[in-house]
Symmetry: C2
Subunit: 93 residues, 2 copies
Amino acid sequence: MTDQIQNMPNRSEIAKIFGEVLQELRRKRGLSQEEFGFECELHRTYISLLERGKRIPSLTTIIQLAIVLKVSPSEIVRQVEARLGWPATNIFD
Amino acid sequence: MTDQIQNMPNRSEIAKIFGEVLQELRRKRGLSQEEFGFECELHRTYISLLERGKRIPSLTTIIQLAIVLKVSPSEIVRQVEARLGWPATNIFD
């Protein structure tokens, strides 16, 4: 194992940041959690759990969310990594 | 639900493309599945399942893999979406 992995943001930190990004993007589209869930074919409760950082999405879910948000999946991930302070100084040395 | 979601690549297609991208990036780093798994703190068997498109990674796993591959998580996702033909013509109209 590497120091990088040891120092990586933990699961709950990643989930929290992802939730913040998701909520902002959803609000920017002017959608309620219910409307957004309907469009994504995901339950409103699951959207709420994601936004509160209680769930970590799979790549499939990220793609599903991105389609409805009309952004690319990589753009969502880019926003998450930027807030996590990526690249961490110790990662790309 | 939207036409976009109806027409989105299915889970197994996403998994297959992700696996191809992962395998290429791992080989580019000159790592065996075993070495790579060790660095990522993921079991070699799980790496193999991901590369064969039998598992879909979570965002946390993508970040873990990216750290060891020394690419950003969004870059991995960007490569996947490019191969999936993103943006699909019907998505951003």
